[in-house]
């Protein structure tokens, strides 16, 4: 990895990197461009510049119903996964219990498992207990599948925290409960917000698990998917562009928050269990 070697190979590497980026992002660029294309989805090159599809989109009530459903599902999924992920992360960080190493891996499992497996098993569970499939089951499914994301994010925040602060709080006469709310929780605030943003985004474009658990009302990705079966419309391109914008900005905020805490916390203990693959997986 000498500097000389690096610079001599730079032109080749740069070209290669550009190709990879093109491969990754060209389809997305096409999607965005065609959402403004005057002659609809067909034909190359795109011709004419129009906002018609966006206009059409904003008049489409059933699509907006799906958007609203997705937002509700995502918001509740955030609440569920944070609510369950926080105690899990606390247990991983500070409790000693038999099988902790196993628990730590099992918490991550839903992240690695194909959505089909998670979806199918949740479906069997809900059917087994006699629950009717609806947005409620979808929400429960998202909440469950994304606990691992919440746990890893919060665990990373806990690892960065100076434990002496909590001891100082106890030392100054605050009991464990007060210490949690006045010291631990404020220290975790950034991690919690970051986790919420990430989970919200992930839930918003989730298909695999949703597909198994959906009832009568569609979430946005499923609405799009069902419309696609009737053929691609530029309207779909338009809504996808909007989702893309929304997701990118959420992820950017998440990333900013995260790097900020990394610089603020001086503890070098970077969480080993952090799923780095997540950072680039969903965009």
């Amino acid at each position: 990895m000498s500097g000389a070697l690096q610079s001599s190979r730079a032109p080749l590497l740069t070209t290669y990197a550009l190709l990879v980026y093109a491969f990754l992002y060209f389809p997305i660029v096409v999607l965005v461009v065609y959402s403004f294309n005057g002659s609809g989805v067909g034909g190359f090159p795109p011709s004419g510049w129009t906002f018609d599809w966006y206009r059409q989109l904003f008049a489409d009530a059933s699509l907006w119903d799906a958007v609203l459903n997705s937002f509700i599902v995502a918001a509740v999924a955030v609440a569920i996964s944070l609510g369950l992920g926080l105690p899990a992360a606390l247990a991983l960080d500070r409790a000693q219990f038999p099988g902790k190493a196993l628990f730590r891996r099992l918490v991550l499992l839903p992240l690695i498992l194909p959505g089909i497996i998670t979806g199918l098993s949740l479906l069997m569970l809900f059917v087994g207990v006699g629950m009717k499939l609806s947005l409620v089951t979808v929400t429960l499914g998202h909440g469950t599948a994304l606990i691992s994301v919440a746990t890893t994010e919060i665990f990373a925040g806990l690892q960065k925290m100076d434990r002496a602060q909590e001891e100082a709080s106890l030392d100054l006469g605050a009991n464990h409960w007060k210490t949690f709310w006045r010291i631990t929780f404020p220290n975790l605030k950034v991690s919690l917000i970051a986790a919420a943003l990430l989970i919200f985004t992930l839930s918003l474009d989730e298909i695999a698990v949703t597909f198994f658990l959906i009832g009568r009302d569609n979430t946005l990705p499923l609405e799009i998917w069902s419309r696609l079966r009737r053929g691609i419309t530029p309207e779909i391109n338009a809504i996808s562009t909007l989702i893309l914008l929304f997701s990118i900005s959420t992820i950017l905020i998440w990333y900013r928050l995260r790097t900020r805490t990394q610089h603020a916390g001086e503890s070098p203990a970077e969480a080993a269990m952090l799923p780095s693959s997540l950072e680039g997986e969903h965009s």
């Binding site: 100076d162 002496a164 602060q165 001891e167 100082a168 709080s169 106890l170 030392d171 100054l172 006469g173 605050a174 009991n175 464990h176 007060k178 210490t179 006045r182 010291i183 404020p186 220290n187 603020a264």
Partner: protein, 365 residues
């Protein structure tokens, strides 16, 4: 120490024992960290727990604070069991090595934290915080965010945050170790005068023997989980109990001698020694060795030991020169001699027999 469990009197005469540590044992994962520590701390005392890293000094402090639980033994405060009370209900406060200032609270709120946690009357809080901040000369930073403070300033806030609660014992865990040398000396002086001013018992942990000497009323020297010696700084320096204590605190020459008929013999040296016969180790401080004015043989005379040796090395040190003396048979003695001028070749030296302090060898593990 005595089996009946009645408080053991402090060595320093009739002072009130505030904190009594009795036969405390602590292990981490089967590894003994503290082995049978018994120590009494007097009210208003400045006690330093001195030891190398890994000697167990921080663990002892954390046991008193309540962050660790002891395996056996007990800690009492004013006669009451302390070790069974949770940390947040102990009348003990800690200044942490990392200061552990709450980053999301202002300096004022950091200091007020303990008062609020203990539900001190609302009206009482501002004046007490203001007073505490004034005490550590941090009044003007009351509304600052901790991230804007230097290490020394954070240290002061940590002190104020602890003292504002008027604890019976203040624990300080190497609070000066992160400061640079100048600031450190200044803080030593301030810490000492602050302690006199508030009259609170300080238990100070450090690995720095000079700091321990400068600050403390008494020093408890800890080695591998055992107390090596507990004494006033002058005593621990002048009358070290063990070879380890003699070497850890200041510099010394360790003389391996053979005691027979009240005379100790070590190579070319001989001096009167009252102790029992047999092999013995003596500590002789470098400044106890003088140039001898009356050249004589190596015979003990009038409680003074004479010997001669070759000056091997001489380092100029201002008021005192460091002289290495080769006494033959690989006996090298280090002496601090006030302005001797250049010394060459064989010289006569002497020391008072009372300056050769018989010490215990070994101890610890």
């Amino acid at each position: 120490m005595n089996a009946s469990g009645s408080p053991v009197p402090v060595e320093r005469g009739p002072v009130e024992v505030l904190l009594s540590i009795q036969k405390v044992e602590k292990q981490f994962a089967g590894r003994p960290v503290l082995c049978g520590i018994s120590l009494d701390v007097a009210s208003g005392e400045f006690l330093t727990i001195l030891g190398e890293s890994g000697s167990g000094k921080t663990t002892l402090l954390r046991l008193i604070a309540g962050f660790e639980h002891l395996d056996s033994g007990e800690i009492r405060m004013a006669g009451e069991r302390l070790d069974q009370i949770p940390a947040h209900r102990r009348e003990v406060n800690t200044v942490f090595q990392s200061y552990a200032i709450f980053p999301h609270l202002s300096v004022f709120e950091n200091v007020a934290y303990g008062l609020r946690a203990k539900s001190v009357a609302r009206a009482e809080i501002p004046p007490r915080v203001t007073q505490a901040l004034a005490m550590v000369k941090m009044s003007e930073f009351s509304q600052s965010a901790p991230s804007r403070l230097s290490g020394g300033q954070q240290q002061r806030v940590a002190l104020a945050r602890a003292l504002v609660n008027r604890p019976r014992v203040l624990l300080l865990d190497e609070p000066l170790s992160a400061l640079d040398a100048n600031l450190r000396r200044q803080m030593q002086v301030e810490l000492k005068s602050l302690q006199r001013e508030v009259g609170i018992t300080f238990i100070f942990v450090t690995h720095d023997q000079e700091e321990a000497m400068a600050l403390s009323d008494r020093v408890a020297l800890l080695r591998a989980g055992r107390l090596e010696q507990v004494a006033e700084p002058r005593e621990i320096y002048g009358q070290p109990a063990t070879a380890y204590a003699a070497q850890f605190i200041g510099q010394t020459n360790l003389l391996r001698a053979e005691v027979r008929d009240g005379i100790a013999n070590a190579g070319p040296m001989a001096w009167p020694s009252a102790g029992p016969s047999g092999a013995a180790t003596f500590s002789l401080r470098p400044e106890a060795i003088r140039l001898s004015s009356a050249p004589q043989g190596a015979r003990p005379a009038g409680g003074t030991a004479h010997f001669h040796g070759r000056v091997q090395n001489q380092t100029f040190g201002g008021a005192m020169d460091l002289v290495e003396i080769d006494c033959g048979n690989s006996h090298i003695l280090r002496a601090r001699i006030p302005s001797p001028g250049p010394l060459v070749g064989q010289q006569e030296f002497e020391f008072a027999a009372s300056d050769a302090v018989r010490v215990r060898e070994g101890g610890g593990s």
